[in-house]
């Protein structure tokens, strides 16, 4: 499928580009993202300032680049956490079934039934907003989706003959789960992780926009938008570039996830062979 392949290529290269930008921010940034220069406040994009300057005269380009660090780190780490918890819960529930399954899945339902963004808001307003708190809160509310997916996979996998064969070869429950079943569920887990990254990035940006995310002066795309909201009529570049980066990152992760889902889906995949 050339279309799926090109989606994958575009998605992957955009994600890589963003990751490189985040990692090499100190090299790529043309100015210090923190140093205010009141005399250069709100300059339009030009040779000196690629994306213009903000109300304190800081270079928007450099801030966007540095902002990608916080945004991608929050997105990546919180998803890592959510997928980790979700996989553990889902695998346990699916493999053992019965009461264990019922209890764990009801817990997942409870968490799913909370509007998670408001839960995050509540947590952040109760405690001091802080990078790790934001990661932890997004991670702890994001796992039920993965857990359901992994549980479904494990319900199927535990009935396979190779699981029985592994038990006959003397494998303990944990060995069957980790060595025999988990590798065969990795595909769907990877896809679900990839498509949850944009949601996490958006949540982080939303928190930042409300002033509840990672706190200034550390730039994030969300708190840059918050800064820009009063200047949107006079300085279009102030809000446009952080917004464009949010859009691009969300879009590219979705593209990548969809392409991966497409590739893993057996019914849309290879041609069947005929006898």
């Amino acid at each position: 499928m050339p279309e799926g392949r090109s989606h994958f290529a575009v998605g992957l290269s955009l994600v890589c580009l963003l990751a490189v930008a985040a990692l090499c921010a100190p090299v790529l940034a043309t100015h210090c993202p923190y140093a205010p220069a009141p005399e250069k406040s709100l300059l339009p994009p030009g040779q000196e300032h690629l994306f213009g300057t903000d109300r304190l005269g800081r270079d928007v380009f450099s801030r966007v680049i540095f902002g990608s660090r916080a945004s991608l780190a929050v997105g990546g780490l919180s998803v890592l956490m959510a997928v980790g918890i979700g996989t553990a819960v889902g695998a346990t529930a699916g493999y053992y079934g019965g009461v264990t399954d019922a209890l764990l899945m009801r817990l997942a339902d409870v968490i799913l039934s909370f509007p998670s963004f408001f839960l995050v808001l509540l947590m952040v307003s109760l405690f001091e907003p802080h990078f790790w708190l934001v990661v932890a809160v997004i991670g702890c509310t994001g796992w039920p989706a993965t857990a359901r997916l992994v549980r479904g996979e494990f319900l199927r996998l535990r009935e396979t003959d190779f699981a029985s064969a592994a038990r006959l070869s003397g494998a303990s429950d944990s060995r069957v789960i980790i060595r025999h079943l988990l590798p065969n569920a990795l595909g769907p887990i990877l896809v679900s992780a990839t498509v949850s990254v944009p949601a996490a990035i958006l949540t982080e940006a939303g928190l930042g926009f409300l002033g509840l995310g990672v706190q200034p002066p550390v730039p994030t795309w969300g708190n840059m938008l918050r800064d820009a909201q009063n200047y949107i009529r006079h300085a279009w570049w102030y809000a446009t570039f952080p917004g464009l980066f949010i859009f691009t990152s969300v879009f590219s992760f979705y593209l990548l996830g969809e392409a991966m889902r497409e590739a893993l889906n057996p019914s849309s995949g290879k041609n069947k062979s005929y006898a």
Partner: protein, 267 residues
Amino acid sequence: MSEILLEIKNVSAYYQAAGRIPPGKGRTIQALAGVSVCVAKGEALGIIGESGSGKTTLARVAAGLLTPSAGDVCYDGRKHEFRRCQSWVQMVFQDPYGSLNPSLDVEAAVGEGLLLLRKVSTAARKRKVAEALAMVGLPRNVLDRYPHQLSGGQQQRVALARALVTGPRLLVLDEPLAALDALSQARLLLLLAQLKARLNLSYLFVSHNLAAVRQLCDRVGVIHAGRLVECGSVLQVLTQPAHEYTARLLEAFLWPDPSPFRGRAGN
């Protein structure tokens, strides 16, 4: 026929009917109703039955994969923990591809039992795996292949090697031929007969293929709707069936020979 290796006494098993709403309420399906069979050392017992007769359930009970709701399963004359005699009871499944972990190569799949049950060192494991593969007639170069790179017949041989590698005394074979081509079936049957003689193995051979049971087994049990309706020596059961159901099965058998059935000679 001296030493009894496996004795299944009066075993019953139930399943919860799937897909009922609300779940957990009501219907259970009885897969086995008071079945008793035994397998002696070096003996092959065939179990014949149609789909839904409970023959696969019996195989899983015999291999220790399923705990029966009632009745006893005795290994080596004593009713002890299955885990302790696990290394000498092994199973080969119907679907060769489904019984091999798609993410493990042949060496890892076959070596798993040696590592866990026999605690064999890495070097010795490599040697023993190669021996087991040679025993089932597979070339050495399959060691680093993955299941999807092998043909159905080869996959079933890998599954057989995995079962043999720990030196079992009893093999539970659940329809090992059903998914294979005619030629692969014949070759696997010959291999099983040869291994049985060489290693003095016992088989519990579950199948719906009368002819295959005739080839491989000494005794045969016929199972119908969860009950053992007849059990005796292969020749006797297949030539002079005592039970009406066995007779019906034999009548339905499709002889690979046109003469007894067609009046239109020579066409």
